[in-house]
């Protein structure tokens, strides 16, 4: 089984070869395609996130990797071997379920050791490894407890221990933190990252929470309606989204529509805007400039040297404690969102409703998008 990785025959694990490869995988339920001709590589020792709105196919993809769904078309390779014909109980892949799926009629020890008992592992060794896992997830001595005696957070850790004890090639996590409150979720996110670094196992997490994906993942695959929108590191996705959809899905952005002019400029309703580069767009093309709220500066007076500046009035303020989000109504009727940290110790926002303000941003601050 997963121990010793005997299941993957053929060429020895090659670091240059991806650990998991989806090759043009399609999954149809009736006439609806949950996943459409999707190709994706996931590497070794990687914390990988599948992110997207509900119905985008991320859970289906995960379940195909686990073996609970079979692709209608395409192959899934693990260490170079096609695992589609392999039954789920034979795959060196383990999953942590969203509902934890702990066996109510077994104890904590019974649950965690369950996977080892399916193979030929000696009783003594099972006991040792269970104790090891309990220590790892910080539940020492919990072995004899029954599942209904545990809190939600404790159950989650038992589920994690159960899915890691067989040292799988890939650990799949299906929205593992959805049931936890915000504080616990934050702590657990860091614990998961630490665990992944320690074990070196590839983790694949499915989540709809973009903040979570950004925090934990080395790379994120953003999906929408069965297709991959962008696959990159969190920083890359945030700073260099490849489409308006991705820019809008991750974080906030103001979209400014315009025509490409000479010298990396864009002609928009607010005038000429200097950008850091228009990329593949040619003069005359319609493009959109995506601006993140924290990249825009706000002042009462017109800035002297910044090239991109517009005036407007404060129409709404959202005070968040650490930051304030301002909605600024511009001269052409459009709205721009600006985020300022509340650095001043006095508290409260430096600007008030209906204040006239000047917004400005450096040319490299925005991303020019062609779609």
């Amino acid at each position: 089984m997963a121990d010793g990785g005997k299941a993957a025959q053929g060429p020895a694990t090659n670091e240059k070869q991806p650990l998991v490869r989806f090759e043009a995988v399609t999954k149809r339920f009736g006439s609806v395609a949950a996943v459409e001709a999707l190709s994706l590589d996931i590497g070794h020792d990687e914390f990988f996130a599948l992110l997207g709105p509900s119905g985008c196919g991320k859970t289906t993809l995960l379940r195909m990797l686990a073996g609970f769904e079979t692709p209608t078309e395409g192959r899934i390779l693990l260490d170079g071997e096609d695992i589609v014909p392999v039954q789920p109980h034979r795959r060196p892949v383990n999953m942590m379920f969203q509902s934890y799926a702990l066996f109510p009629h077994l104890t904590v020890e019974g649950n965690i050791g369950f996977g080892l008992r399916q193979g030929n592992v000696a009783r003594a060794e099972i006991a040792d490894r269970v104790a090891e896992m309990l220590a790892l997830v910080r539940l020492p001595g919990f072995g004899a407890r029954r599942i209904d005696q545990l809190s939600g957070g404790q159950r989650q850790r038992v589920a994690l221990a159960r899915s890691l004890i067989k040292r799988p090639r890939v650990l799949l996590l299906d929205e593992p933190l959805a049931a936890l409150d915000k504080k616990l979720r934050g702590e657990t996110q860091f614990e998961l990252m630490e665990l992944q670094r320690k074990l070196g196992t590839t983790f694949v997490i499915v989540t709809h929470d973009q903040e979570e994906a950004m925090i934990v993942a080395d790379r994120i695959a953003v999906m929408d309606r069965g297709r991959l929108m962008q696959v990159a590191s969190p920083a890359e996705i945030y700073e260099r989204p490849n489409s308006r959809w991705v820019a809008g899905f991750i974080g906030e952005a103001t979209m400014m529509e315009g025509r490409v002019g000479p010298d990396d400029n864009i002609e928009s309703a607010l005038g000429r805007v200097r950008t850091g580069g228009t990329g593949k767009a040619r003069p005359g093309d319609t493009v959109w400039l995506a601006l993140r709220p924290e990249k825009i500066g706000m002042a009462a007076d017109r800035p002297k040297d910044h090239v991109n500046s517009v005036s407007g009035t404060v129409s709404e303020i959202g005070y968040r404690g650490d930051m304030s989000i301002y909605k600024i109504l511009l001269s052409d009727g459009s709205v721009m969102k600006v985020a300022l940290t509340n650095a001043s110790a006095r508290g409260g926002a430096p600007f008030s409703l209906n204040d006239p303000v000047w917004l400005s941003w450096p040319p490299e601050a925005g991303v020019v998008l062609t779609e």
């Binding site: 609970f68 769904e69 079979t70 039954q87 789920p88």
Partner: protein
């Protein structure tokens, strides 16, 4: 998961095979035999009918077999008034009993559904418990009460409601009492299940929009509980038509219900073909309600074809 089962179809087939075979042999085949015997003629023989299906006689035997089939038994059923009256009485008793059961069972089930959460399982258990004791015993218990020197007369006389003992047994009234008594759990439980699942916010919405409790009951609760009421009604009506024990123990000897008629034809008259014909006709009569009930079941269980 579906696919894993399909991938190794033999696994699924094996699960299906045992009960399927059992039912084909012990359920389906008997019906075919009943049909066949209903088309046979009575004979003073063992078994008491002709022709006997004998494969060893070969093709000629089969031809002779077919030739000897007759519709005599069915003719008898349709011409002799006794049988017609028996069917009519059975349907009448079943219909009236079902109506009484609805009238009594609905408030009962509704009361349980409105009881405090903690009490409900206990109340349901209390309704089910008599059902788990012997059916025969419970009917028999009514004999204790309804007989001439029984409890009911005793109480009535002491209360000066009647002067002399009334003959309650051997009457249609006794049959109705017995039917309603025995089938009450079958009516209450499906009704309770439907009422209990009702979304309370619907009632709150009705009240919010101006409905009194009474109106809410008729405009919201009753329509929504209709499937449960239909299931309960069918679960009672269909078996009552063919009931034997209750009319036999509690009823009189004027017109018999069809279950008694079948029994008598079989055991007393040793007329197997007629008894089989009665069974076939009864089944045909009940086919539509049974299919209806099946449809209701599938819809509620959600696991239908």
């Amino acid at each position: 998961m579906q696919e894993n089962l399909e991938k190794r179809d033999w696994g699924g087939r094996a699960v299906l095979l045992l009960p399927y075979l059992w039912l084909v042999v012990f359920f389906l085949t008997p019906f075919i035999i009943v049909l066949k015997i209903s088309l046979s003629q009575t004979a003073m023989a063992q078994p008491p009918y002709l022709p006997v299906f004998d494969l060893s006689a070969g093709w000629a035997g089969l031809k002779e077999f077919a030739a000897q089939l007759s519709l005599d038994s069915f003719q008898l059923l349709f011409t002799d008034l006794i049988y017609l009256l028996s069917y009519l009485k059975s349907v009448q008793v079943a219909a009236i009993s079902t109506i009484i059961l609805l009238l009594i069972g609905y408030p009962f089930a509704y009361g349980i559904a409105r009881a405090p959460r903690g009490w409900q399982p206990l109340l349901v258990m209390a309704v089910v418990l008599p059902f788990w004791t012997s059916f025969l015993i419970r009917v028999y218990a009514w004999i204790n009460i309804l007989q001439r020197d029984g409890l009911l007369n005793d109480v009535l006389m002491r209360l000066y409601i009647v002067d002399t003992p009334v003959s309650w047994l051997s009457s249609d009234t006794a049959i109705y009492i017995g039917m309603v008594y025995s089938y009450l759990p079958f009516m209450v439980l499906p009704l309770y299940a439907a009422l209990e699942q009702m979304d309370e916010t619907l009632l709150e919405a009705a009240a919010d929009l101006g409905c009194s409790r009474w109106k809410t009951f008729w405009l919201v609760v009753v329509p929504l509980s209709l499937p449960g009421a239909a299931a309960g009604a069918l679960l009672c009506f269909i078996p009552i038509v063919g009931e034997f024990v209750i009319p036999d123990l509690l009823g009189g000897s004027e017109t018999l219900m069809i279950g008694q008629t079948l029994w008598n034809e079989f055991f007393a008259n040793r007329d197997w073909p007629v008894a089989s014909a009665i069974a076939v006709t009864l089944l045909a009569l009940l086919l539509v309600p049974m299919l209806f009930y099946e449809r209701l079941q599938q819809r509620s269980l959600g696991g239908g074809p």
